[in-house]
Amino acid sequence: MEKEVGAGHKGSFTAKVLSNQQIRECYYRLNLKLDPIGSRLFETAKPGRFVEIDLAGLPLPPEDKIPPALRDAAYRQILLRRPFSFSDVIFVPGQNGPCVKLEILYCILGPATLRMMTLAGGDTLNLIGPLGNGFALPDTLKKAVLIAGGMGAPPLLHLGGYLKRHRPEVETICFAGAKSCEDLPFTLKIGNLTGLVLEEFDVLGIPSLVATDDGSAGFRGFVTDCARRWLRDNQPNPGETLVYACGPEPMLAEAARLAKEFDLPCQVSMERMMACGIGLCQSCAVEIKTDSPGQTEYKLCCKDGPVFDSRNVIFNL
C-alpha cells in the first residue's frame, strides 16, 4: 500500500485561485481554495505559520503593468518557491470534512511576486505547508498587543481573527506602521474614537492605531513609538500580556527593546531567505542565545521559527 504522506503534518498539495485583487498600488489579496489534502493539513494550522508556493511556471504580466522599478528584476528567472504567511484561514464545512480557504496578502517586490499579479480565478498553484511553528498562545493570555510593520501585517491579521474566534476573552489591540500611507497593506477609515483605524481589524472588533514615518496617516514616526505611548498610558500586566511583532528586522529589534522596557514577553516573526522552507538546506539561520551566557546557536527560521521569543534573538541589523 502507498504510504500516506503528510497527513496531520505538512505536505504538498494544490490550491485553486478564487480571486486575486489589487488592494493598493503594490499590494494584492489572493484567495485560495485548498484541495482535500491541503484542507486536512490546515485543520490545525495556527496563526504565524506559512506556506511555500511554486510560482516558477507563471507568465510575466504585460509590459505596461510592470512597475518601472522592476523592469530589470522582471526578466530574472525564478527557480525556488517563495514563502508567504496567510492573513486568514477559513473553514467551510463539507460532507467529506472541511474545505479550507486561505487568504494571502502580498507585495510586488521582484520576479516571483510580479508574476503573481497574473493569477486569476480558476488557476491552480502547488503549495507546501503548513510550515513553521506559529505564535505561542499561552492559557494565561489576556491581552495581545500586535505590532505590524509594512508587509508584516498578514500573520497578525490572522492572529487577530483567530483570537476573536477561539479566545474571545483576550483583549487585542493592533499597531500598524509603514513608511507612508501608500505602503500600508490595509484599508484606512475614520473610526469613532481613535481617529484613523484599519478596516480589516475594525470588522473584527479590534482597535487599531496607524503610524507612518512621513506622517501621511496617523501617528508620525515609528510604529514602536506609537505603541510605546499606549503602553505607558495603559501599563498592561506583564503576567497576562504578550507582544506579537512582525515586520522588517530593525522594527522587530525595536519591538523587542520596547517589550523589555515594559517587562513584557514578545514574540517576533522573522524572515530569512529560504531555499526549501522545510528544514533541508540550513539556509534560513537565525542566531539564538543559548542557556550558557554569551553563547549562541543558529536555529532554522523555517522549522524552529519563524516565530521566536524576542529575548533570545540576536537581530541582524
Binding site: 525556488l80 522545510i278 533541508l280 538546506c281
Partner: protein
C-alpha cells in the same frame, strides 16, 4: 510485450535499489524529507556533511537565487559527530534505503576520526568524502584542488573506513579534474562523486556588496548541468571506466531526462540536490521516469545505460 526493467545498481560493492540518490546538504538527515515521500523507495540518501565537532555555519544570507540556479554558503553547519551518532543514526536505521554519510573536516585527523567512528555503524552503508566544499576557509576545497593532498587524505580515510566503501566527492574548481579523479582512485577510492558546486558570486548593485555574508558561494541547479555532464563524461572516459570505478553524477538534475543524460555520460547513479528544494519528492518522479525511458529504449539493466555515449 513490455520488458521488465531492472533498476538495481551494483555500486562500490553495494546493491542500490535504483540509481537515484538525494545529494548531501539538500536532504538534511533524511528525516525531514520522510514527511513528503516514502524515502525507502530511493536508491539511497547522502546526509549533509558531518564534522568531528558541531559547526554553527556562516552568517546569513546563506543563499541567493540566480537565473536557473542558486548560490549557497551554508558553511557546513551540522550537529557534529557525537550528536549525529546518538540522535540521527537511530532515524537513519529506519529509513529502509542505503545511507551514505558525507564527511568533512579541517584537518586530515578530523576526517579520520569521523570516518572511523561512522564505519562502525551498521546503518551507514558507506562514506562520501567531502574535499570540495567551497564555503569553508580551511579544509574543504583546499584538499580537493591538489592531487597530492587528495591522495593523502583518501588513503588515510580509506584506512579508517574498514570494509565500508569510500566515495570521494570532487570539486569542479580545478584545471584538470581527471588528475584529481586519478589521485583519488589510485589512493583507494571505491567511487567518485561529481560534481560539487561551482564557486560564484552575486553582487547587490545598490549596496555594491556581495549578497552572501560569506561573499562567495557554490552555484548549483540547472545552470551547472551541461558543465557537470561534460566533466562526468571526461572522467568516465579517462579515469573511471579504465579503473572500473563507478561515478555518482549530479549537478542540476531536475527531470528523468537529466538523470538519463548523466548516466549516458558515464554515471552509474545520480544525485538530486537543488531540485528537491522546489519539489521534495522529485527523486521519486525521476526513478519512474528512468524506468519509462528504459522501457521505451528496450534497456533492461542500468549497465546498458551507464556510459552508453555514442
Amino acid at each position: 510485450m513490455e520488458q521488465n526493467v531492472d533498476l538495481t545498481v551494483d555500486f562500490a560493492g553495494l546493491k542500490l535499489k535504483n540509481p537515484v540518490l538525494t545529494a548531501s546538504g539538500t536532504c538534511g538527515y533524511a528525516d525531514e524529507l520522510a514527511e513528503f515521500m516514502d524515502v525507502s523507495k530511493l536508491g539511497g540518501v547522502i546526509t549533509k556533511s558531518i564534522t568531528a565537532a558541531p559547526r554553527k555555519g556562516n552568517p546569513t544570507p546563506r543563499i541567493v537565487e540566480t537565473d536557473a540556479g542558486m548560490l549557497n554558503a551554508i558553511g557546513l553547519a551540522n550537529i557534529g559527530l557525537e550528536r549525529f551518532v546518538s540522535e540521527k543514526i537511530p532515524v537513519l536505521e529506519q529509513l529502509g534505503t542505503t545511507v551514505f554519510v558525507n564527511v568533512a573536516g579541517q584537518m586530515i585527523d578530523d576526517y579520520v576520526q569521523v570516518a572511523e567512528r561512522l564505519a562502525k555503524e551498521k546503518a551507514v552503508a558507506g562514506l562520501e568524502l567531502n574535499i570540495s566544499c567551497p564555503n569553508v576557509k580551511q579544509g574543504g576545497i583546499s584538499f580537493g584542488t591538489d592531487p597530492t593532498q587528495i591522495r593523502d587524505i583518501t588513503k588515510q580515510v580509506k584506512a579508517a573506513c574498514g570494509h565500508k566503501p569510500l566515495i570521494v566527492k570532487l570539486t569542479p574548481m580545478v584545471t584538470d579534474i581527471s588528475a584529481a579523479a586519478r589521485a583519488a582512485v589510485e589512493a583507494g577510492a571505491d567511487a567518485l562523486s561529481m560534481v560539487n558546486t561551482f564557486t560564484a558570486m552575486v553582487i547587490d548593485i545598490e549596496t555594491r556588496r556581495p549578497v552572501l555574508a560569506n561573499r562567495t558561494g557554490g552555484l548549483s541547479g540547472p545552470a551547472v548541468k551541461p558543465i557537470a555532464i561534460y566533466l562526468v563524461s571526461k572522467v568516465y572516459q579517462e579515469v573511471a571506466r579504465p579503473a572500473g570505478v563507478p561515478i555518482l553524477g549530479g549537478g542540476g538534475i531536475r527531470t528523468a531526462a537529466d538523470a538519463v543524460e548523466f548516466m549516458i555520460a558515464g554515471a552509474a547513479a545520480v544525485t538530486i540536490g537543488t531540485a528537491t528544494f522546489v519539489q521534495p519528492d522529485t527523486a521519486l518522479h525521476i526513478i519512474e521516469g528512468v524506468r519509462r525511458y528504459c522501457t521505451r529504449k528496450g534497456l533492461t539493466t542500468m549497465n546498458e545505460l551507464t556510459g552508453s555515449l555514442q
